[in-house]
Symmetry: C2
Subunit: 325 residues, 2 copies
């Protein structure tokens, strides 16, 4: 299959690496809204201006959108869905139904197939929630995130006066996870599930006490959580907090038996050194499925819920049954 | 959907309980090869002789086979696939390709749809292996079982002279799991992955040392493992070892990045109080999918790999996207 990348940030670079590991995929090009001459790819892949994308309409099996959910994808995804089979990692959970409708309309009218919201949450975690609820209908599921870097929370700290740089780690509360695993079905507030750890580089003349106060009282981002703030040097930040690790756990607990006497726990856990590179691996696997499904005549918009797992693998159905079932 | 159970042992009773939790399913009947008058169901469900099954051909959407993989299913599944949409939990991994062919032929010729090898391994663990390998192609997966009761190993102990009853627990070796999680990609022999814990009730006049020796040296079952044998009373066995718990963990580790510099761990873990009741929940969810797929015109044999996750849920696609994605 012939893939192309639209948008070349961390996620785009991750997709470039992931395609190099997929024996059945080649990269037609990287499309950027910047001046292509200023973009240096990791591998030998041509870089084009995004304005030239339509010239490649017949050469791209699936276009992988690597833009942001806040401002890029709400308009970019429906626009691209009209000309290409497309996959994105739209992750604003509350806006997914609206995004789905817009992409579905564009893809249906042009007989293309799109898949939205691929990645790990939404994505693999959504699948864990769905499989868990289907096989244990009498139960509850809980999603914990971390330990990992939240880009949104790090950005929020950086916007405070006197802050030069910052990293925020979302940390799941182990005692809450244990209560879930024990089948206690606890009702947990957002602050009872996670704590927030902040590493902040302050300007030399900044008032650190004031910065800490501003972080801890910031509504939505921090005020509902137990938040710790550590002031460190720029050197320490670069040495120890330069990665983009993330992960999390989906736990489903439920009961079976005539009198609900038996308890079951399903736990799906990710520990990722690089959030964007892992997300990229998910995108490439689902791009493979989109290519196959479109060749079978499927059009419109779908999600990870609509993809039969066999379509994700480079192996044949016979090989899968013989080696993985 | 209208379901029926063929075979009423632990798994059949589990399916009976699972159907009672599925709002969109009813149970047409339990079909048994025993005298129906001797079978007492848990709920108000009619019990019929298996010889009468064909009378219900038009009343059953999906027949759930609850027979054993060793002797029942190899002949029973293809036979039933010719008259019904059918699902089984065939778990002899090495014989799956052959079983698939036999069921596929029978189902295709009669325009029915069957799904084989549903449960948790094969089943949910197979899915964990497939998703893991698809999104992290440069990696390895490891499956650990337990802590849980192995029926086959318990039976093997019971066949020793002087043994009145026995339970065998398969126990994963935590240090080996940790080496896998650390991304060391260890080459593990079967005895380096699991130990075997045996609880044995011996006859009053039996030679316990001889029984222990026979267990520990039994080829295939025990000789390749670190095996511990505990002699207990029948009362202790009934008080502390009467359940059928099981579970296990599938771990996929892999690397990404241009120089493989980033490591990722995907872990899927089950802790089950009742192996048959949990397996039954998986069967009912996949029966729902089989019913829907057959109504869309799909025929032949499929596996968990061929089922789009959305088909497993009683919720609509819109509801799934809004609540679980």
């Amino acid at each position: 299959m012939k893939l192309a990348i639209y948008g070349y940030g961390n996620l785009g670079r991750g997709v470039e690496c992931a395609v190099s590991k997929a024996k059945d995929a080649t990269l037609v090009g990287i499309f950027t809204r910047r001046d292509p001459a200023t973009v240096q790819p990791l591998t030998k892949v041509p870089v084009y201006s995004a304005t030239r994308l339509k010239e490649f309409k017949n050469e791209i099996d699936v276009l992988i959108l690597c833009g942001g959910s806040a401002t890029d994808l709400p308009t970019l995804s429906p626009a691209m869905a009209a000309d290409f089979n497309m996959i994105d990692s739209f992750d604003t959970h509350a806006a997914i139904p609206e995004h789905f409708e817009a992409v579905d309309k564009a893809a249906r009218e042009s007989n293309h197939l799109s898949l939205i919201s691929a990645g790990w949450d939404p994505g693999l975690f959504s699948l864990a929630r769905l499989y868990g609820s289907a096989v244990l209908p009498d139960g509850d599921d809980y999603t914990f995130w971390g330990r990992g870097v939240s880009q949104g929370h790090s950005d929020a700290i950086r916007r405070i006066d006197g802050v030069l740089d910052a990293r925020q780690y979302t940390v799941p509360i182990e005692e809450s996870m244990d209560a879930v695993r024990a089948g206690l079905h606890p009702a947990l507030t957002t602050g009872e599930k996670h704590t927030r750890e902040c590493y902040v580089v302050a300007a030399p003349d900044a008032d650190k006490a004031e910065i800490e106060q501003k972080i801890k009282t910031m509504p939505n981002y921090f005020s509902d959580y137990t938040t710790t703030v550590h002031f460190i040097t720029m050197e320490e930040l670069k040495a120890h907090h330069n990665g983009i690790p993330h992960g999390g756990t989906v736990i489903r607990t439920g009961n079976t038996g005539l009198n609900d006497e038996n308890k079951h726990v399903i736990e799906y856990k990710l520990q990722l050194d690089s959030n964007p590179e892992f997300t990229a691996g998910v995108l490439v696997a689902f791009a493979r499925a989109i290519d196959r499904m479109h060749r079978r005549g499927v059009t419109g918009c779908c999600t990870v819920f609509d993809v039969a797992p066999a379509d994700l693998s480079a192996l044949s159905p016979n090989e899968l049954r013989a080696t993985m079932l």
